[in-house]
């Protein structure tokens, strides 16, 4: 009798539940849960470790760009990226966290479809689609060539368009299909049209549209890129930075022209892998700018952007722990951050880029690009006089000044079939090193199904 009672009580004790997790089938049963799932997918994508979109990968296109310079080399990932020495053994995080975030997105999308209040769920569903597009877009810029670069490599990504069984092995889609998929997801997000108000740290209607403009530009769909950029410029609630506030916006959250930024906090940040630590003379100091870039920026002192590079060539008090050099000043720390070098929101896309996309797309179609460039410069240069025409070189130079240290520069050059020249190192648009190797773990697991990028062995 007693034994039976004990048995019955004990049998119940055999069902144990974790204290920090809920089971998949009970995780998303309300719109509130869905909102949390959206946050969770951002959390995974920006997970606080090396080589995520919140750590080194956020400045990847700068590290491999023309102005990259390593004041110190402590053998961390930034200098390995800059030196093109990343092998297939090293790229797992850059690949994994984005796909993990996409898996959470797809799982949330599945469960969102089962919610009763579809109307309330719709903005989140739209955001989830935009997130899926953006995460694929990040992956595409790391692991696949830019379609307009002229690369012979036409391999795109494994497209994660739904929840997969755990033993799923995917094949790479073509580059064309990959960009079609990315643009398609942004389109899904845009078409619901329900989330047009500012929502810092989140992908709203405007962010999806702006990113679609960028994706279209990368894919060579210039008319579509121009249309999207124009719409954001005309109708969005964002305002260009000005000469007056330009130097102050970098520590602000939800600054005037920030359409999308990844939030970083004292709790959630990449610590020493964060770009702020790499751009600090007392940190890893593996991402500075070259003396030539510094001199070039200083040659236009009326341009407020000349103040965004710091001359740290003299160590205060001769401190040997201070790595002397020139550093970008775009990672001063979020206002109020306890460790400024760790906590900087990651800039994903802002309004200025719409001007530059529009200019580049207009020029590519033989239209007048000068007004876009003039608009930007008027907000950057004191006493600026409009120009009547601009060349592609002008636009690319403008981008270097405006977007350095924001993860764009090498892509800008390769996209336009230019060679990145940095000292003795030059990387052409069709160079195998313009893309990173897929992680060895993925290649090994696929038993031949997953093709490695050329130049990285099998």
């Amino acid at each position: 009798m007693l034994a039976c009672l004990i048995m019955a009580a004990a049998c119940e004790a055999l069902d144990q539940a974790p204290s920090t997790s809920v089971t998949t089938d009970t995780a998303i049963t309300s719109v509130e849960d869905l909102a949390n799932a959206v946050n969770g997918a951002y959390y995974v994508a920006t997970y606080g470790t090396m080589l995520t979109v919140a750590s080194e990968m956020s400045i990847y296109a700068d590290l491999v760009g023309p102005d990259s310079y390593q004041p110190a080399s402590s053998g961390q990932n930034a200098s390995r990226l800059a030196g093109f020495s990343m092998t297939a053994n090293d790229t797992y995080n850059a690949y994994y966290y984005l796909y993990a975030a996409i898996a959470s997105v797809n799982s949330a999308l599945e469960k969102a479809a089962l919610l009763e209040d579809q109307e309330a769920a719709a903005p989140y569903v739209a955001e989830l689609y935009a997130m899926r597009g953006l995460f694929h877009f990040h992956l595409a810029t790391y692991f696949a060539p830019i379609p307009t670069s002229g690369s012979e490599n036409q391999l795109g990504l494994v497209l994660a368009d739904k929840v997969f069984d755990i033993d799923y092995i995917g094949k790479r889609a073509s580059l064309q299909d990959t960009y079609d998929f990315i643009i398609g997801d942004f389109t899904k997000a845009v078409e619901t049209g329900l989330n047009k108000s500012r929502n810092t740290g989140h992908l709203n209607y405007w962010a999806a549209l702006a990113l679609r403009a960028r994706a279209n530009l990368y894919a060579g769909n210039y008319a579509a890129a121009l249309n999207d950029a124009e719409e954001v410029l005309e109708a969005s609630p964002y305002k260009l930075y000005t000469v007056d506030n330009y130097t102050k916006v970098w520590s602000q959250e939800g600054a005037d022209e920030m359409i999308m930024e990844y939030l970083q906090t004292d709790t959630y940040n990449a610590q020493r892998y964060a770009p702020g630590y790499y751009t600090s003379p007392r940190g890893y100091s593996e991402y500075g700018v070259s003396p030539e870039f510094y001199a070039w920026m200083q040659s236009t002192p009326d341009d407020i952007r000349s103040q965004m590079v710091a001359d740290c060539t003299v160590a205060p008090g001769g401190d040997p722990d201070y790595n002397t050099g020139y550093y970008p000043l775009k990672y001063p720390g979020n206002a109020g951050a306890s460790v400024p070098a760790y906590v900087n929101n990651i800039k994903v896309i802002r309004l200025s880029e719409m001007l530059m996309i529009a200019a580049e797309a207009a020029l590519a179609q033989g239209q007048d690009a000068a007004p876009y460039v003039n608009t930007l410069r008027r907000n950057r240069i004191t006493g600026y006089a409009d120009v009547s025409s601009v060349t592609l070189d002008d636009i690319l130079d403008e981008r270097r000044k405006e977007f350095f240290a924001e993860g764009q520069i090498a892509f800008d050059l390769w996209r336009n079939r230019r060679t990145v020249v940095n000292g003795s190192l030059s990387t052409g648009p069709r160079d195998y090193r313009t893309v990173l190797p897929l992680p060895k773990e993925e290649i090994d697991l696929s038993k031949g199904l997953l093709e490695q990028n050329p130049g990285y062995g099998n």
């Binding site: 004990a10 920090t20 053994n89 069984d165 003795s424």
Partner: protein, 1014 residues
Amino acid sequence: MCRKIVISLAALCGFMAFAAAQDLTVSGTVTDPEGYPLDGATIIVKGTTTGVSVNSDGRYEIKVPKDAVLIASYLGYLPQEKPVAGEHTVNFILSEDTAYLDDVIVVAYGAMSKQDFTGSASQVSGDALAQSSRESVDKGMIGKMSGVRIASDNGDPGSAGNVQIRGVGSISAGTSPLYVIDGVVMSTSTASDLQVGYKSMGVLNSINPEDIESMTVLKDAAAASLYGSRAANGVIIITTKRGKQGRTTVSYNGEAGVTSMADKKALRMMSGPQFIQYLKDAGDNAYAINPAYSYGFTGDEIAAMTADPSGKTSTDWTDQIFRQALTHNHQISLTAGGEKTKVYAGLGYDKTDGIVLGSYFERYSGRVNVDHQVSDWLKVGIRQMVSFTGTKGHSDQSSQAQGMGYATPLGVLTQSDPTALPKNPDGSWNEYVSWSGQTGNPHLVFDSDTEYNKTHMMRSLSSLDLDMKFTDYLSLTNTFGYDYIDNKQYLWWAPSSIDGASMNGLSASYIFQTSDLTNSTVLRYSDSFGAHAVSGIAGFEVADHRTGYTYASANNFPNDKLNALSVGQVDGVGGASYRSFMMSLLGNVNYDYDNRYYASASFRRDGSSRLGPDSRWANFWSVSAAWRLSREEFMENVSDLFHDLKIKASYGTNGNLPSEYYAYQGLYSASAGYGTASGIFWSNPENSHLGWEKSRNFNVGFDWNLYNRVDIGVEYYNKYTSSLIFNMPASAVTGFSSYTSNVGNLLNDGVEVEVSSQNISRRNFTWSTDFNFTWQRSVVKNLPNDGADIIYGDGGMYIHREGESMYSFYLPEWKGVDQETGLGEFWVDPLDHSQGVTNYYSQAGSAIVGKALPDFTGGMTNTMTFLDGLLDLSFLISYQFGGSLFDYPGYFTHSDGFRAASMNAAADAADYWTPQNRSAKYPKPIMNNPYRWDRFSSRLIRSTDNIRMREITVGCNIPVKKYLESVRVYFRATNPFMIWSAVPDIDPDVAINGYRTVDVPVTKSFVLGINLTL
């Protein structure tokens, strides 16, 4: 009451059966030599099953025929026979069986005579363990038992050792054995339940080896299957000391000594002049390829950046980081026992300073064991242990994957500039000794309280045994155990420290708590009918395991002086709890006929919360048999040679559970956030089919005693583990890097030999030898995905391949140095050398280039006594052959110039190629070497073959009988020297997986001790 009725009934039956022959009532006493009654001893009429128990006064009464012969026996005492010869009073005085330990073996849920035991087990006495290590029982087992391997390359006091019984039982689930202490399963908490992995920590250190009476390792299914789902990796049963009736002894054991690095060659770096030359060559060689590799500097320019480019300064930083450390240990114990109550109490203190500056291990422990005979039928045992263990140390590479912590001993050692002096001219420590600029002076890093990791562990182990004797044949034991561990971990990185600078200081405090509540109720039956003896148990057990942690951290400290959390700004908090529950039914039956033929069977059914409802219950069983040939008539002629000979065989199953608590559940984790909002994400794919890992064990062997002097035990075992719990790699595209599944099979088999010989046994000189030998292999039999290779580990350096050993290294094969060019060469395809060589690591293919597990391991202990036991000497030699290690530090210290801009290199790396030294061991150094010869390859695989002197003890038993029971003074050396090793420039002791990290290399120690017994 119930008992009395049963006894009366039994007595009545006995009376009826033997009434005809009984015509005499005999009574008497059974005592020990000092006259204390031996309560519970038995009196049996020889040649019959008639017998009675002795009462608590030591008296008995029995009716027997006039010519009967009585046998008195008591566990732990030699049996005695006396003819009645018509007398009414027959008294017995039993003498203690000095070989008690050898004859009785502690087994699952009980103890039994060794001769009746059909399974496989090795037993070692507590003294032998404590002699080898006062710090931790696992470290004391090295070289003492066959089939048991203890591996550790960490000399940090308080660090964890790996214990492996009969090979590697699992790939992804746990491989460490189950520990049972006084019948209670100890907490299965692993270090990861109890700390954050800044440094290695052993949970077993909380047990004081000096409180241990004996330790038994259960190896085969017959021995271990009663522990079912947790027995797959073997079971270690620890029995603590008990009070003994009659004698009160108070003893003090104390020792003190010094510890240092066992072999300094393990970590020897280049001297100042060597380093300067190395920088010049590495810089020039780099400059010649591309000035960017040497940052635009020539070799001379780089060498000029050292602290003293003149070459006149040379600091051996190994001597600055590592030291001769003090160790001392004290233990006071009391053993006493009266008629009804027996007590053991011990208090111990151990303090072992680490060989790295600023590190130590400290333990206070106390134990009280009380056994009390409440009444004829009820016996109560209460045992309580409390220990406080404190450690202070520094981060190590134990949680590091490819990379090296700056503030670790290894990080500081490799990055210190050998041309810098430790001290400034004014006597203060020189702050600027780091060549990389990322580390600091070891005295400031390790010995200044600016950066450390401390733990304070409290463990309480309580158990209660209730023994209820219903009849002589039937009893019930209820064992209740509660094992509570509380570990507080403190981390302090001061604002000025290497790791703390970026956060302006970090202080973190973690509290880990685990509790294991176990209750088992076992009904025991034992009887004999003529030559037939039957015994068995049936029981029920529940085990409730809970663990959890809370932590808080703060940063932005005003200065280095204060590190209390309240001094800084809030950085982070966290906490979670975990629980697992298990319930079980168990039973066994043992039968023997005439102590000649034995058969046993056992069964256990376990249900665990770690598995889904459909697969959480499983059955485990064993069958075994033995035949004592020496009891056969046909062996009588050779009864000296075959004093005892038993052959035995067993077969059965054991299990293993997933290490994760909730692996079968599809989960969304809520420990996430974005900005200031909360978040949830898909964290675990559902896997409701996840089940037990099962092993089928076959064991066959013999135990042979020759001339009552030599014991030989030989066994072969074959352990086939199926439905392995496997962390299957998953494609990142699914959102997961791996998932848990039951796939694949693993085979462990081996031969074990144990020989124990009394070589010489004279009054003035005795010499005995214990020798053990193990041949062992662990082979991956089947893998998932049609047997596809699984590459795993740091940088994919290991492979699981069907037919290959566990922990096989899968790496490019290093060919050597091209004597013409000085460049390093790899084989393009290690399996097909016709494809030629390459200078580039990236173009080199991989193959299996070695395995971590040795083929042969063992040890030998020789013990000698001189002058009637006045002096004694013993030494233990251990050996192993056939395995290799992966030299992780070597990856940094043999970088062929790649790391010259930040690190010094190993002393032997100075033998590199130059046009004048073409037959050099290493290629020419190139700063930021683009070829990457340093990357993981067969070059870093080194043989671990060695024969090592583990221990030498010399003792003197001073004859002071008048005042004290005994006084013993001894000197002990641990790891004093290497007798032979295949690779002399490295210490071959390494963890089971062969991954050498050595932040704190293996140590040697020399201690002087005294034992006083009142």
